[in-house]
């Protein structure tokens, strides 16, 4: 029976060298990949620096090139006399605030517009409690002037509670009203209340979270609603019916009436 020569028999040193090299490479790769993890934060109180450098070069024109004095124009008919110096005295006083005076710019009368306005890369904090978006964003929240609907607690027995909550929240709610389509501003929240009327848990419904992720108007509306909910707490509601108002879902904010739409 022939013995197959062990691989080491050919020259064990090659194996050792190869193995050392290989392990060295892995170690180097690991160092390269994970070196950030070895940095220890200077101060646990410091938040991670997530400022975004918009551009390594200056965002604004580095220096406006010398521009001819604005008064010296290549106007078809040449100007005949030097421009009168603008005088503040000639002008009427401003009613409520100091009025700026003209200056005749000598060197850089006009700031050179920048060559490009870099898209402001923005690193936003995770919004709306980092809810994961459902696969399919819901285009708009369901419109309708429903006040109370459905079964269970959504009936006349709870209409007074809904009104009580509404009357306490509305003072704090100042929605953005500039969107071209008011439906972008309708947002739904899932609000959990503590027995003392303070906010126990708050998150946008998955549909609102998904829409806010892709629509700046919806995001602004969702944040305005969240500010309102926090600002107006605690809510005064009958404690004996806590089991009815402990969870409010959906708590809908719909500014269409305010916008006349």
């Amino acid at each position: 029976m022939r013995r197959i020569a062990p691989t080491t028999a050919r020259g064990p040193r090659y194996g050792v060298v190869a193995s050392t090299l290989f392990h060295g490479m892995i170690f180097a790769a690991a160092l390269f990949t994970f070196h950030r993890n070895f940095d220890t934060p200077d101060d646990s109180h410091v938040v991670p620096v997530d400022l975004v450098t918009i551009a390594d070069v200056t965002n604004v024109a580095a220096q406006a090139p010398p521009v001819p004095e604005p008064e010296q124009m290549d106007a078809p008919p040449p100007a005949l006399e030097p421009p009168p110096e603008p005088q503040m005295q000639e002008v009427e006083p401003a009613p409520e605030a100091p009025v700026p005076d003209f200056k005749i710019a000598k060197e850089k009368p006009v700031e050179k517009p920048q060559p490009t306005r870099k898209e402001m890369a923005q690193d936003f904090n995770a919004l709306l409690n980092k809810l994961t978006a459902p696969e399919k964003p819901v285009k708009t929240a369901k419109p309708g002037s429903r006040i109370i609907q459905g079964v269970g607690t959504g009936n006349l027995m709870t209409a007074d509670l809904a009104d009580a909550l509404k009357s306490q929240i509305y003072r704090c709610w100042s929605p953005p009203t500039g969107a071209p389509d008011a439906r972008d501003l309708i947002v739904d929240y899932d609000l959990g209340l503590n027995p003392d009327g303070t906010v126990g848990g708050l998150q946008p419904t998955p549909a609102t979270a998904a829409q806010a992720a892709g629509n700046g108007y919806t995001r602004a509306a969702a944040e305005a609603a969240r500010r309102a909910i926090y600002q107006c707490q605690p809510y005064r509601l009958p404690p004996e019916r806590y089991n009815v108002w402990r969870q409010v879902n959906p708590l809908r904010f719909d500014p269409r009436q305010m916008m006349g739409q």
Partner: protein, 435 residues
């Protein structure tokens, strides 16, 4: 067997129990449909780092946001917490105590290479989280523009709409007695800072309009006693006549791509709207009605042009396709309606309404519906849109021929306020966001 039945019953009970109890645990449903529109209270302490520039930048940001009417910057003297490190999480409780809902912390530092570095963070005081963090580099002279960019970023993050603070206004500066008034082309920042004369005042100038890159201005001038349209290059200061026509041209407006200018050309007593291609200088006629057709304004997609015409007996607003087809009247309100200006957002037309001696600024949808007046001065005309389509500026004539002022108003009709200019000013035109 009996044991299995018990087990089955227990399982069934477990299965059905939630269904039985769910109604009692169902959540309350609430619709909030009325609110309390208030400017957002926001705290903007002076930026740290360079003390002078830090105070200057924060001051400009406060003024920008306050002017918008959507924010209420709080008095820094009332702040309990002193920001020293913008990378540390602020004590949100102390900011809630001064009623702030937003907080801006920032830093201005001089770089070794002489550049200025401006960092800032926007915090949600109730959400206790950072909403935005940005960093800018610039030359020290440009600190005002950086401050405006900071304001724009905050405005956009909070309202969901683009800002408009890093923009400029070109306007007509008026001086001298009413009978011998000198009208000069002038330009200033959106907040009224850095006003500069662009022309000498030898000739009357009117109706300046920016091109889409804010580097070129088209306007009408009475050089040689003949009103004609000129172009002014802001960078070089050069002027040129736009086409040499025997008759007067006026009311210019750049196309959204900047390659064409729509204007009015008067021939034989009849004014019609033309489009001039700026490269070939070829003119194309759009209207041929014997009435006065003027004040063209492009839709943002460049496909339609609104204009005013008195072809129906009184001055009214019309819309046509960019080839001149499909001309149709869209304004049917009271009085005369003119100077339509298409919103950069495309949803509205701003216009001037004249009823008797009362002039007001209004807006309507582009089909003429939803018309409403938004100014209250009674002598307001010549609207121009902020690049975000949310705010308008216009001229307000003072009583007794005492000159005029520039005013601004939110498209909702709220926040009507004067734009401070040195002396009398009219005919404002709002630039796009500076590139």
């Amino acid at each position: 067997m009996k044991r299995y039945l018990v087990l089955f019953a227990a399982l069934a009970a477990l299965w059905t129990a939630p269904a039985l109890f769910t109604p009692a645990l169902a959540a309350l449903q609430v619709d909030v449909t009325q609110g309390n529109a208030q400017p957002l209270p926001i705290a903007i302490p002076d930026f740290v780092g360079d003390p002078q520039l830090g105070a200057n930048v924060a001051g400009v940001v406060r003024a920008d946001l306050e002017r918008s009417g959507l924010f209420r910057p709080l008095d820094p003297r009332g702040f309990a917490e002193r920001i020293t490190n913008i990378n540390a999480v602020p004590n949100f409780g102390s900011w809630r105590a001064v009623t702030a809902q937003g907080l801006v912390t920032g830093q201005v530092t001089q770089q070794p290479d002489g550049r200025l570095r401006v960092d800032f963070r926007l915090w949600d005081v109730y959400g206790q989280s950072q909403m935005l963090g940005l960093q800018f580099f610039t030359t020290p002279e440009n600190w005002r523009r950086i401050a405006h960019m900071v304001s724009d970023a905050i405005y956009e993050r909070i309202t969901g709409e683009k800002g408009y603070f890093d923009t400029r206004i070109v306007f007509i500066s008026e001086s001298g007695p009413a009978l011998k008034r000198v009208k000069r082309l002038a330009i200033m920042d959106e907040d009224g800072a850095n006003p500069i004369f662009l022309t000498r005042g030898d000739y009357m100038v009117l109706t300046p309009r920016f091109n889409p890159t804010a580097q070129m201005i088209a306007y009408m001038s009475y050089i040689g006693n003949k009103p004609r349209v000129y172009l002014f290059d802001i960078e070089t200061g050069k002027q040129e006549m736009l086409g040499n026509f025997p008759n007067m041209t006026f009311s210019p407006r750049f196309s959204p791509d900047g390659n064409q200018v729509a204007l009015t050309l008067e021939t034989g007593g009849n004014s019609d709207i033309y489009i001039m291609d700026l490269r070939s200088r070829a003119m194309r006629r759009l209207t041929s009605d014997p009435a006065i057709d003027t004040a063209p304004s492009w839709s943002p997609d460049g496909r339609q042009i609104s204009f005013e015409s008195d072809r129906g007996g009184s001055q009214q607003i019309y819309v046509m396709n960019v080839d001149g087809s499909g001309q149709r009247r869209i304004s049917f309100g009271q009085g005369a309606n003119g100077t339509p200006v298409w919103s950069p957002r495309g949803d509205l037309l701003a216009f001037t309404r004249r009823t008797g001696n009362v002039f007001s600024i209004g807006v309507m949808r582009t089909d003429g519906s939803g018309e409403r007046l938004i100014t209250s001065g009674g002598r307001d005309e010549g609207p121009t849109w902020a690049p975000n389509g949310r705010v308008l500026m216009y001229s307000r004539a003072l009583a007794g021929g005492g000159g005029s002022q520039i005013w601004s108003v939110d498209v909702t009709g709220r926040n009507e306020r004067r734009v401070l200019t040195p002396g009398s000013a009219s005919d404002p035109a709002w630039s796009p966001l500076i590139q």
